[in-house]
Point group: D2
Amino acid sequence: MLDKFKDECGVFGIKPHHEAANMTYLGLYALQHRGQESAGIVASDHGYLTCHKQMGLVADVFSEEALARLPGDAAIGHVRYSTAGASLLANAQPILINCHHGQIAMAHNGNLVNAGEVRRRLEGIGSIFNSNSDTEVILHLIAKSKKKTIEEAVIEALSQVKGAYSCVFITKDKLIAVRDPHGFRPLVMGTLGESIAFASETCAFDLIGANYEREIEPGEMMVVNELGMRRSSRPFKEKPARQCIFEHIYFARPDGIMFGESTLAYRERLGAKLAEESPVEADMVVPVPDSGVTAAIGYSNLSKIPFAFGLIRNHYVGRTFIEPKQSIRHFGVKVKLNPVKSLIKGKRVLLVDDSLVRGTTSRKIIKMLRAGGATEVHMRITAPPTTHPCFYGINTPTRKELIASSHTVEEIRKYIEADSLEYISLQGMLDCLENSNPDNYCHACFSGEYIIGFPGQDKESMEV
Amino acid sequence: MLDKFKDECGVFGIKPHHEAANMTYLGLYALQHRGQESAGIVASDHGYLTCHKQMGLVADVFSEEALARLPGDAAIGHVRYSTAGASLLANAQPILINCHHGQIAMAHNGNLVNAGEVRRRLEGIGSIFNSNSDTEVILHLIAKSKKKTIEEAVIEALSQVKGAYSCVFITKDKLIAVRDPHGFRPLVMGTLGESIAFASETCAFDLIGANYEREIEPGEMMVVNELGMRRSSRPFKEKPARQCIFEHIYFARPDGIMFGESTLAYRERLGAKLAEESPVEADMVVPVPDSGVTAAIGYSNLSKIPFAFGLIRNHYVGRTFIEPKQSIRHFGVKVKLNPVKSLIKGKRVLLVDDSLVRGTTSRKIIKMLRAGGATEVHMRITAPPTTHPCFYGINTPTRKELIASSHTVEEIRKYIEADSLEYISLQGMLDCLENSNPDNYCHACFSGEYIIGFPGQDKESMEV
Amino acid sequence: MLDKFKDECGVFGIKPHHEAANMTYLGLYALQHRGQESAGIVASDHGYLTCHKQMGLVADVFSEEALARLPGDAAIGHVRYSTAGASLLANAQPILINCHHGQIAMAHNGNLVNAGEVRRRLEGIGSIFNSNSDTEVILHLIAKSKKKTIEEAVIEALSQVKGAYSCVFITKDKLIAVRDPHGFRPLVMGTLGESIAFASETCAFDLIGANYEREIEPGEMMVVNELGMRRSSRPFKEKPARQCIFEHIYFARPDGIMFGESTLAYRERLGAKLAEESPVEADMVVPVPDSGVTAAIGYSNLSKIPFAFGLIRNHYVGRTFIEPKQSIRHFGVKVKLNPVKSLIKGKRVLLVDDSLVRGTTSRKIIKMLRAGGATEVHMRITAPPTTHPCFYGINTPTRKELIASSHTVEEIRKYIEADSLEYISLQGMLDCLENSNPDNYCHACFSGEYIIGFPGQDKESMEV
Amino acid sequence: MLDKFKDECGVFGIKPHHEAANMTYLGLYALQHRGQESAGIVASDHGYLTCHKQMGLVADVFSEEALARLPGDAAIGHVRYSTAGASLLANAQPILINCHHGQIAMAHNGNLVNAGEVRRRLEGIGSIFNSNSDTEVILHLIAKSKKKTIEEAVIEALSQVKGAYSCVFITKDKLIAVRDPHGFRPLVMGTLGESIAFASETCAFDLIGANYEREIEPGEMMVVNELGMRRSSRPFKEKPARQCIFEHIYFARPDGIMFGESTLAYRERLGAKLAEESPVEADMVVPVPDSGVTAAIGYSNLSKIPFAFGLIRNHYVGRTFIEPKQSIRHFGVKVKLNPVKSLIKGKRVLLVDDSLVRGTTSRKIIKMLRAGGATEVHMRITAPPTTHPCFYGINTPTRKELIASSHTVEEIRKYIEADSLEYISLQGMLDCLENSNPDNYCHACFSGEYIIGFPGQDKESMEV
């Protein structure tokens, strides 16, 4: 019984550092936006690996006691978010196993497209799986490998899988970072004194005071050995880079450098480009906080329409909000956002958001703005229409749920009850890249161009 | 052994409503920014009051089960923050007592100045106190009152205390809202169908879909009786209004109306006024998020210096962050804020914040900006220097800890290592009020003009 | 709204001892059988009292951390059981208050008969109550007292109440033990080096290695002062002693000395006396474990009928046993006891228990024995018929629920389906006392002779 | 890194029953004495297996909610105790896996002697292990089996292991019970209406009201199929039975039938035999409660020395008892047992216990009795000297820790400071069996006759 599922993650690793688990804890803290469902750390101390992982936020999973039980001079960590069906502790990472190579643990960001097939093959020859995670497939392949060294076993295992993996491994004496040949997901390297650190995003380095050095390149494997020396190699067949454009648009924290671009600057350019592509007369540019803020500033700067915080976000919203039973419905958005009526009353609002997935949230926000007195609401999206699901590490719904996969922009506009609706063009989006090559990006969620296909068993996600 | 302590709070009440506890839960949710340490609700059902309160956020304190155990058609609620010493469940509110008037519960925002004296008098005649809370003093006075009705007892009790109280009471058949004659703290009234609701701020009404009607005025008492009818009275001797200007500047949520002013519009005017009063050449206006954002927009709009989100806030910061032991120190700010280096590198930054209390945080932020490459950092504060503690319901440190009580602006500038530092003028701050009379405001924290003095036992807070 | 309720408790106190809280923890451990619902300790350290109490068993309430937060050289502790209605943390003890005498805490075993009247009087003059506990009434009276010293205030307070109290008080520099003039409940004194300890039973001394010295006598007050010196006084009007015979029969741990008698030896004599009073032909004497064991040995020794453990008790039964919904009912007894079928099959069983309250449990046990193959079941009870509730500190149900208050022995025999049923006679029970005067005992639960009456408001408990 | 470890367990299974999980919960409740560290249930509902297991007692692990999440008409359960090193949730049972045969779960009582070798072989071909449990080895062998049916796969797997296993398996449609050819550990079968149940001991049937039918015989496999029909087979090569004599002496609950013997009757005979073999003059026979009680009655009956409960056990001792730091030491026994001084003072005590392992506890008890006034203490043990560890399912320490492996009886007597010490003879112990053949018992712990040897890697346990 194999559930298909997709998850978003953040990874971190460091070696050697006399407070390796503490540094990893901080790194995960900074990467918390990449996954809020589970967190875990595996630390290596004198040849012995210890694991602590739980459902919950980093701050809840790790007490001072828990960190004290993770001694050692090397550690890796992981934060994870997944769709509800697969939200189990068994799927939390890092996954630590014992095999004839000894102890090895892995923290993985990305999804494989052939995990199902490999898993069925392994089960056929007697392997036992404990999770639904793609990651476990890789670990089984490592355990099966007859190669002499763990590096060779890791290479042999990864050579058999297809898909997205930016991952870190830890063994009794090594720390290994690998990024798949297409480089779908980010992975960066930094240094802190003698220590070498890896992370999904540079903000993790900012917090621990490490210096961002460079990206782990697509197809690169970096090994930090028992002496703390690093060695880079490119063990896989070279393939065209396909970095995730959606990290830039939405997923990454704005205060970092990714794929060579400043995320914040890119988002500001997206806003400006959108103002250029689809201007409209309005009294104020209002962002959907927090993700639309930077683009809205860009739009405002170019259009000269004043920027205004017309929607206030309640940052105390927890995961366990209880909807009242009868009287009031659809609190989803209302609990999180509230319009500033005194500001928007009688005004024409230009609303900027980073994406429009199902349309239901936008519809509610626009209703809210009109109830608050806005006379017109024009919506601008800093991404092209999301028509296809991601199979490479971002949680997007099935095509059936993606409103743009089966509706025209005009139909969507009507549904969300906007006075106008415009998306940035695919070309416009790519044109905003300044320091990186547009050809090196994956935009399958907008274009449907899946360079490595998608999981065979997951036809359902692709039905419209 | 009587600890002096001060706390910030939010209150809510509703009657009649068939989901009174659920509405109160939502109201508290919206008021969460006024207190994150404890939350509680008392509901009244067929003449019997039930209480549920705990340490923690509203979302954590109330499960669906907990709310189900709070039936009834009337309820009051409370959220609270206090200084560490007094963070006890015993001080959580509402406080529910049994006395010869029957059951009565109270939720109170504000601090009294004569609580200590009254308490000593009551203890002298044998009263037992279970908390350090001013609120308990009021309840003891009610229990002591020989008046026939609870309203009369409440009036008699409140006539004996001096200080700030915006509060709601609930009894087996009545809901009572009262604001002290000076009206230090806010209290508003709204309607939702047949229901009458009271709250510290209008955002609570926005969430439950209630209409904001008007403020409870300084010295006003509003009783909602067993029939759901309301009756206003002014049982206390009239006194000059002294509404808290600091609510406008910092404490209140920006998306509301308070004391007749739009909070967001006022803050934007503060920013503009500051730009007028103390201009400087800079490349970008950067707010300290989230509270400095609106003022920064005002500053940017008037000065034409571009607005930029140069500091990114990590919203996943929990209460339990564990500082690493040895290697890195002073994480306080670093965990919460991170500069966008690609943006500020080589730039002159105009940094806007709403207040400067001890100076330590500003010092760290400026250090962070310089480390990120800013060539100049000019700090602008949208409040005058905070020279005096508040005794009327805002948590401010003692004079000794307030850097402005003993240092000149130039000395503070040197301490925080800014290239320039300017505060808005007291007059400028008052001039920004548009719909309300400046004479009706308390600004003791800036001017030292304590209209009703301060607690006799608390000389310590006033020593420099 | 004043609930009437009764509770069983154990108390402990020690001073001076450099590990006072730890010793109290051990003392409560040994007294756990007197109350399993809540546990608490108040310790006094350099003039400051600290309290820790919670619902739960001693071992669950006190962690090493919790004990570490209770420093000081004097402490008192309490364990409590009560009927469900009043099982609230608010009723847990010790109760610690602040009043004009300073901090004072109290741990109380017993129930008052005039608590309701005193409470109504105090509420009438404005006192606020936080619990349903009789103990709070005493503390209010102390707080009201104008006497100069705490000892005088305690005496004045206790002079106003009527009922059972064996209690310990702790203040910033004193430890006080008092037993009411009738001495309903036990209270003993011991020494451990320089330390003086008080406890409900001597088993607490055995565990900490203290020497049992003597009982605190009815009407005696013992004060241990700031120098660790003790001083005995008899501040109350003398009254006839009325020690609880039921402590001997059932409630006390068998391994102690109480009211001058060895509990175990007394119970063995009860069994022998019963064998003498009501012999019967049987194949084996089977106790209802654990409380019937000693009496069964006495019965067996005198009657020469072999003793056998025909019922096995499952000691792992927790508080939270979940009854299966449909298939099987009445697990109450079955989960706790199981007959040894191979032993009782075809045998005539003489079943010994210490009391028969509602009859439902006995009925189930006898059914169980017959299902296990017993050919006859003769029941013998080592107490007279329980016809009246206790108001002096033992939890007995109302008269309506006491089967013996309205049914003859023969009717009860039929109900429990025994072949014969006999109780020990009142005189027989008293004759078994060897070292104490039968006139000094209260046996109201068997005789209805309530020397100080019962609570006025509690007529209900006395209706048949 | 393979830890060797041994554990004690209880198992239960039932099918078909519409409340299968509830019945299993009750069964585990009755078997709680076989393991208090973890508990778990796997239930099968319409072809899907669900698992719930946790560290803790049955009553703590299963809430009503937890049981409600275990629907289905078949279930198995497990309770477990192990040495500290291996007390991990990962080792808790049942273990549920997914493999090419589908879902299968197993609950296992016993230890294998070749688990280490099989595991190393499996790891060598790439299998991943998640626990230190022998049980996982069996599940891997099942997953590896190419046999068509699960029964065949189970048989193939068990044919490859050597050691003790009384176990139950559950699949989407079957319930399987198997006992190894030597039958080291017990396993019984009962019926409840249409339902067939398996359990480690008959007391589980008593609680759910099932009828004990017979033992699963050594080497027998019983399958309950999708129609609820059972089918017995003997798939393994026949071997001599070697049932555990120590279950009779100590481990089993006294109220059951095991290996055809009444446990309680056997223990009473052991006491009588001991009185015959090694009489002594004494004033009372005192058992070490609870396990020594029945044998003490047997000793008393034969010797005519009166039986007395001279040691009282505190049944409220929790797992988390905190030892006071400085003043008092060695609380281990004192917290659990207290002598009745009034009873033993001046008396010659004949102390009966079921075994003497390290000698430290006996030494403390005897010291306690002498401190309580006993003039002589004669110790009698109802087992022969324990000279060898068990490798077949009972937790015994290494030879080094077993005092009898390197000391004479006289040396042990001196160590425990008894006036005399006698063990029952090996022959005497076997002679007490009434309904079963002495040749069919394993007594390796007394005789060192390990019929199937012991784990190759565990030489350490055998060093003296």
